[in-house]
């Protein structure tokens, strides 16, 4: 029983880290209807700048992190000016394709600037084991979960209690109606992509701390995709709940089904879980139900 609990809690905590990456996708899709393929590249980009400034330039993290945040805001501004603005009123698939371009451009730029060698990104989150009886929890996971919880609370507060939050929600509800009351879409997009940049910085710190900073970090996107499928593309709570379900589900499947099927199943089993839920709710657990009149 204790082992089952250990696997379950470990899976839930892993799910929180998947949800963190998924959050960036959700924020942009919710506000602009764009599935931002480049979100994982933004995580890598942010991590490479933080790791590079600390390891290569000797900047302390308390300086490297805010500088990276400013850079991410600059990236958001450039993306709005160069990519999104000329694409206004284009089909969603065209916008999606343009984010694929952003994905490769961000990786390429970061690699040209910092090179491809791996770096550490240790901001001081302890990784000591914590024992509860015979059950082991990792302090790194618990602190990460607390960081993600704080981030979600902050995002919810921003969305519900600030003027810009209300503007974002208005744009999310109806672009044209929001424009008709004088909301500037271009400003909203810069703000949204900047918030996604903030999420990328946090995800970069957490995943970079766990994996080291290296190009393969973009693969964490494959952990976020089933979370998005399950939670829906428009719900922040959906991303969190789906992250927990996917994390716990794949961990339990790996331990209890893996030996029967042949092991190493966690990478694809998460998609099986997501697709099973989609049969029941195609829009995801918390996604908006699309009803169109004919």
């Amino acid at each position: 029983m204790m082992f089952f609990l250990e696997v379950l809690i470990g899976g839930l905590l892993a799910g929180v880290m998947y949800a963190l990456v998924a959050l960036g996708f959700v924020l942009i899709f919710k506000a602009s209807g764009i599935f931002n393929f480049a979100q994982a590249a933004m995580v890598l980009f942010a991590a490479m700048f933080m790791g590079g400034m600390h390891n290569d330039w000797g900047l302390p993290y308390w300086l490297a992190i805010p500088i990276t945040l400013v850079i991410m805001i600059g990236v958001a501004w450039v993306i709005e000016r160069v990519v999104l603005r000329p694409m206004v009123n284009q089909e969603p698939i065209i916008l999606f394709m343009s984010t694929i371009g952003i994905f490769f451009a961000l990786i390429g730029f970061a690699e040209i600037f910092w090179g491809s060698r791996s770096r550490t990104l240790d901001v001081g989150i302890p990784s000591d084991p914590i024992f509860l009886g015979d059950m082991l929890l990792q302090s790194y996971d618990l602190i990460t979960a607390a960081i993600v919880a704080a981030l979600v609370v902050g995002l919810v507060f921003f969305s519900q209690k600030t003027r810009m939050g209300r503007v974002l929600r208005a744009v999310a509800d109806d672009h044209q109606a929001a424009q008709s009351v004088g909301i500037k879409l271009s400003t909203v997009w810069v703000v949204v992509w900047s918030i996604a940049g903030l999420v990328a910085v946090v995800a970069g710190i957490v995943w970079g701390g766990a994996l080291g900073v290296q190009p393969v970090m973009v693969d964490v996107a494959f952990k976020a995709l089933p979370v998005l499928l399950l939670g829906g593309l428009t719900s922040i709570p959906g991303a969190i709940v789906a992250g927990l379900i996917i994390g716990a589900g794949e961990a339990l499947a790996e331990v209890y089904l893996g030996p029967i099927i042949g092991g190493g199943i966690d990478s694809w089993f998460a998609y099986i879980i997501a697709m099973a839920f989609m049969v029941w709710r195609p829009e995801g657990l918390f996604g908006e139900k699309i009803i169109e009149r004919i």
Binding site: F3, V7, R117, Q214, G264, D266, S267
Partner: protein
């Protein structure tokens, strides 16, 4: 009219002469060069490993050209092609470069996947393949793939060296009875390579082998290491690749597993396996087929003839890393094979594909020669025969001290009595499947 036509004819003749002279001159230039295509991955997800290797490989070639004026006056013309560690791009690189500048005679694909894809192509083209530790271990059995060389070791041989070290640490093979050894591996053909050897030892010496596959790329491994912790293993063999290695080390360490009892395979032995894991990697061990660090005379030569002249291939931060050293010795084996090819045919002339292959088939680099090359202790000696395309297959154990790799053992001989019959059986099965008639080595 007539004058104009004559002038045109004269001009055409002159142009043709100039063109011909240029072509002859270019050919003469090419004729003194030995072409070496270098398939590298300086970009992409595995770039942290690829950059160091590519730099070491190129710097050794530059050293030979700058210090010695080439091999008996034949300069080496190195041309890199970026594969990004992708099989399709590797094949494209090979096809694009193989006939340039007088033709490639040898290729080092630097990827197991690309090696598999290139084996039939290089066989058809008569080009030698140098697959250093990666690729098909059974290519060590020479009669089947007579153009592929596993110098200086294979996954299987190096695994026997790991087991030899574990047995020694336990006070003898007989003490392995009742022990638990975990093999945590990249869930692919690569990760499964040493399973045959490990299963053999488990059966023979009575320990329990726990096989733990990890899904690539391995960015999340909590579940695997939660299970490993429950097993309370005496030793762990790690066969990861790329990000899987530091993630495994870090996750294991954070679960209280003693990483000094983890021994990485030859591709879990690079700097990018430990550096991203930070302090958690301190004490981690790995098997490798060359000496670690930069404390070898070759580095003084490189400094004098390459680094100080600003001719180094990279930024310099890869010097002394495992990947860089592997690039150095791989280029070293290739250059020595060409040197021996010239001795067998004609000194001062670039070797043909046939001459290069013939030289590899009897490549002999004794320890004394590795010292002459400034690579004593860095480059293991090699002796190739028609039957054995691996040679001694020696490897050593190294340990990460938090800053650098330290050599824990001297080069050790593998258990060739065990692995060679395995190579033979596997290679013969491959030959049957592919319709290859093994050549006679009598």
């Amino acid at each position: 009219m007539k004058t104009t036509m004559l002038r045109k004819a004269a001009l055409m003749g002159l142009s043709a002469c100039i063109g011909l002279t240029g072509a002859i001159s270019a050919q003469a230039q090419e004729a003194k060069e030995q072409y070496l295509p270098s398939l590298v991955y300086r970009t992409g997800p595995f770039a942290p490993s690829g950059i160091g290797f590519a730099d070491g490989f190129a710097d050794y070639v530059t050293l030979i050209n700058e210090r010695d004026g080439g091999i008996n006056g034949v300069k080496i013309r190195l041309e890199e092609c970026e594969t990004g560690y992708a099989n399709d791009r590797g094949v494209e690189c090979y096809e694009r470069l193989k006939d340039r500048h007088g033709g490639a005679t040898v290729v080092a694909p630097l990827s197991t996947g690309i090696t598999y894809a290139l084996i039939p192509r290089t066989r058809a083209d008569g080009i030698t393949m140098s697959t250093m530790g990666y690729g098909r271990a059974d290519a060590a059995y020479g009669p089947v793939l007579d153009n592929v060389f596993m110098v200086p070791t294979t996954y299987w041989s190096s695994t026997t060296v790991v087991m030899d070290y574990i047995a020694e640490q336990e006070g003898g093979w007989e003490n392995l009875k009742g022990k638990d050894i975990v093999h945590a591996y990249h869930d692919s053909a690569y990760g499964k390579e040493p399973l045959g050897v490990l299963r053999h030892y488990a059966e023979k010496y009575g320990f329990t082998l726990h096989e733990m596959p990890i899904s690539p790329p391995g960015v999340e491994q909590r579940t695997v290491w939660t299970q490993v912790r429950r097993i309370k293993p005496d030793w762990i063999s790690l066969f990861g690749w790329g990000v899987m290695n530091p993630t495994a080390i870090r996750t294991a360490s954070s679960m209280g597993i003693d990483v000094s009892r983890m021994i990485g395979g030859i591709y879990a032995a690079q700097d990018d396996a430990v550096k991203p894991a930070g302090e958690d990697a301190k004490g981690y061990k790995a098997v490798t087929f060359h000496g670690p660090g930069a404390d070898y005379p070759i580095y003084q030569e490189l400094k004098k003839h390459v680094y100080d002249k600003d001719l180094a291939a990279g930024s310099g931060d890869a010097k002394g890393t495992i990947a860089y050293n592997r690039g150095l010795i791989n280029a070293g084996y290739i250059v020595e094979a060409w040197r021996q090819a010239q001795e067998m045919s004609e000194k001062g002339r670039p070797s043909t594909r046939e001459e290069t292959l013939k030289a590899w088939q009897s490549l002999d680099i004794p320890e004394a020669r590795t010292k002459e090359l400034g690579m004593g202790g860095l480059m293991p000696p090699v002796h190739i025969t028609c039957l054995d395309h691996e040679g001694p297959g020696m490897a050593l154990i190294q340990q990460w001290n938090g800053e650098a790799w330290e050599q824990v053992t001297e080069f050790r001989k593998p258990n060739k009595d065990l692995v060679f019959p395995m190579y033979k059986a596997s290679a013969e099965a491959y030959a049957k499947q592919e319709g290859i008639t093994p050549k006679s080595c009598d």
